[in-house]
């Protein structure tokens, strides 16, 4: 196996790593490689920080191991190799009447990446991705392959879902797809004028899929304003053709995300929805993966890259915490237009899973000197509110904050250290946040 020395980074492009990467084209090549070298797996590098980085070490790129293995058209159980993307599964199976039960915000995430970060979707009632996984084929650091299930290997399974690749290499997984009557979403868009209205609407919505865009640049009266999108899969609509995807050829200039530009953009972005709301039909992919049509959209943040702050907050403290966070963000003039407020369900599949019952706020910030300081303050608020930071997005947190937020961290570390005693699968994030030091 040839190794490629490359510099690579997470989606935010702030944290980078340099190291040797192998990319097996088939399982036999991976098994051959694994005899000599054990290294963490990487996929499409859609986590934002350093969850998939191993600076000065090696990594195994799993994206070419992407075959469909079995599918039962009666039960909707699909087994596929680790590197297939969630968008490819959706594209292939939606016309046959099935989609993954949980879809993250990008279709470029790989199947194994969705498990390793236990991603969630716009349908908080369905729980997290890992809750719909019935089997994981795991290649251990000891060279053995095990099939683990939530019922029979509960601890190892719970350490693997959301486990950032620390328990072994996911070779393939079986997921439960859900039936879909069409490939089209019927979306109701509503203009929202305040944070309390937003929270009430999100809580009260009966729609299966629900996501809010929030204007994070406005303070005072407009605090918390935005657009709520409530989606249901259409039962009858004929397919709508997808528009052609575009790509960003190079890094955008800095003024693009200057505060006045963002404020102006946000103003018109909200006003594009009429005050009485509107109903639109959209291809499923456009609803679930709204940014995927612009390839490399992370280049819009220019060469320095960007951070995303995403936290989950319990109902009891959410209102107060969100108000303070949004005030801080607006005052800082650091926000980009990408900001999302969602309802979050309690469902989580692993020890290190992110979800908790309540709300989740996600805001992107261009990587400027002030951003890190602001995110530090937001993390403080989230900590005091009993909230949680999303490791798939994080590039800045401190170990003590994460330890306080993840109460099963010690159990996780014990299991990871047990199955990988030499620490062969440790990544930059695990080192930075000391995720395996507690065990």
């Amino acid at each position: 196996m040839r190794w490629k020395t490359a510099e690579y980074s997470g989606w935010g492009r702030v944290l980078k790593a340099t190291g040797d990467i192998a990319r097996p084209e088939k399982m036999a090549a991976l098994r051959e490689l694994w005899k000599d070298v054990k290294a963490p797996a990487i996929g499409n590098l859609r986590s934002y920080g350093d969850a998939a980085l191993n600076d000065k070490g090696r990594a195994v790129d799993m994206t070419r191991l992407d075959r469909l293995v079995t599918f039962d058209a009666k039960t909707g159980l699909l087994t596929a190799e680790a590197g297939i993307t969630i968008g490819e599964i959706t594209r292939t199976f939606a016309p046959k009447g099935w989609i993954p039960a949980v879809l993250p915000g990008t279709g470029f995430a790989t199947l194994a990446g969705c498990i390793a970060n236990d991603v969630h979707g716009k349908n908080h009632k369905a729980g997290s991705f890992g809750q719909h996984v019935t089997n994981i084929e795991l290649l251990g650091a000891n060279g053995r392959v095990r099939n683990i299930t939530p019922g029979e290997n509960t601890d190892l399974f719970r350490a693997t879902c959301g486990g950032l690749g620390q328990t072994g290499l996911i070779l393939s997984a079986t997921i439960q797809l859900i039936p879909t009557p069409s490939g089209v979403m019927e979306v109701r868009e509503s203009r929202i004028d305040s944070l309390s209205e937003f929270m009430a609407m999100l809580e009260g919505s009966t729609a299966e899929y629900c996501v809010g865009w929030i204007d994070a640049a406005v303070n005072g009266e407009g605090l918390g304003r935005g657009v709520l999108e409530e989606g249901e899969i259409s039962t009858h609509a004929p397919d709508i053709a997808l528009k052609k995807s575009k790509s960003i050829p190079k890094d955008a200039p800095r003024f693009l995300l200057a505060s006045p530009v963002v404020r102006l953009f946000n103003h018109f972005y909200q006003r594009r929805v009429p005050s009485e709301g509107r109903k639109v039909k959209r291809p499923m992919q456009d609803f679930f993966f709204p940014l995927d049509r612009v390839h490399d959209w992370n280049k819009l943040y220019g060469k320095p890259g960007f951070h995303q702050f995403q936290c989950a907050l319990p109902d009891a403290t959410a209102r107060e915490a969100l108000t303070r966070m949004l005030e801080l963000i607006a005052d800082s003039k650091q926000a980009s237009p990408l900001a999302v407020l969602k309802r979050m369900g309690a469902g989580r599949a692993g020890m290190m899973s992110f979800p908790m019952e309540g709300f989740t706020l996600a805001v992107d910030f261009p990587n400027r000197p002030k951003a890190a300081q602001l995110i530090g303050e937001l993390e403080e608020i989230a900590t005091h509110a009993g909230g949680r930071l999303y490791l798939a997005k994080d590039a800045l947190a401190r170990p003590d904050i994460i330890a306080a937020m993840y109460d099963e961290l010690e159990d996780f570390a014990k299991i990871a250290n047990d199955v990988d005693p030499k620490g062969l699968l440790v990544t930059d994030m695990v080192r930075r946040l000391k995720l395996r030091d507690a065990g």
Partner: protein, 245 residues
């Protein structure tokens, strides 16, 4: 009319992308190569994407004695017989320089093996008066360069063979598409230095399918390699022989 696609070298990334696309169009797919375990996995993948029949077939371009079984299997299929040749090998030129036996292996894998196979297969296509041969050559075959001239020579030989085969098959109602990929992001090029304008295997597969539909003769993928190669082939030999590109 039902389409059958025999894909030689079915484990390569470009072949996989191509196989998936024809499977989605509903063709029967036959993945031929040496790693039967992987080909079987790939056959299942194609089946789940829409190929009614999808099978793995043992094929080794260095073992012509085994070609008969492949002819026999495909001969049983109704409809149009098509074949796409993705097999080849590209050892480092430095390794070939150390071990001249690799010259034979490279030429067998990339030229004489596939040519010999096609000699036996094409009569079946002529008999049915239809079908397309896709032959993957390379921009490396357009001019011999210090960095991989044995591989380039094998691909040049294959391209010339395909040109003659097109001449022959056209009059029987079939067609031959010669594909010259530039740098493609495959297992063969992974980690090799000096790559630029690298295209994805899926983009190449898409270009190939368009060329099949439009009955193109020779395509470069991505298209701009045609112009790059015009420049490279027009550099006077007196200058070219001193260059290392």
């Amino acid at each position: 009319m039902k389409q059958n696609w025999l894909i030689l070298g079915g484990s390569s990334s470009m072949a996989r992308a191509f196989a998936r696309r024809v499977a989605e169009q509903g063709a029967d797919v036959f993945l031929a190569g040496r790693d039967m375990d992987d080909l079987r996995r790939m056959a299942t993948d194609c089946h789940l994407r829409g190929a009614k029949t999808s099978e793995a077939i043992k094929f080794d371009s260095r073992k012509p004695a085994e070609f008969g079984a492949v002819y026999e299997r495909l001969g049983k299929q109704d409809g149009v017989l098509n074949v796409a040749v993705f097999v080849s090998s590209m050892p480092d030129q430095a390794d070939i320089d150390k071990n001249p036996a690799l010259v034979d292996a490279t030429i067998a894998d990339s030229f004489t093996g596939p040519a010999r196979f096609l000699q036996g297969f094409v009569p079946m296509m002529e008999e049915r008066g239809s079908g397309t041969v896709v032959g993957v050559a390379s921009v490396a075959g357009d001019r011999g360069r210090i960095s991989n001239y044995v591989y380039g020579a094998a691909k040049a030989g294959f391209a010339t063979y395909l040109s003659g085969l097109r001449n022959r098959l056209t009059r029987a109602g079939g067609h031959v598409v010669t594909v010259k990929p530039g740098f493609t992001d495959t297992g063969m090029t992974w980690g090799i230095e000096g790559m630029f304008l690298v295209a994805s295997p899926d983009a190449a597969a898409s270009d190939i399918l368009k060329a099949v539909a439009k009955k193109k003769n020779t395509i470069y993928t991505p298209f701009f390699w045609r112009y790059i190669m015009v420049i490279i082939t027009h550099i006077p030999e007196a200058i070219f022989k001193k260059m290392s590109i």
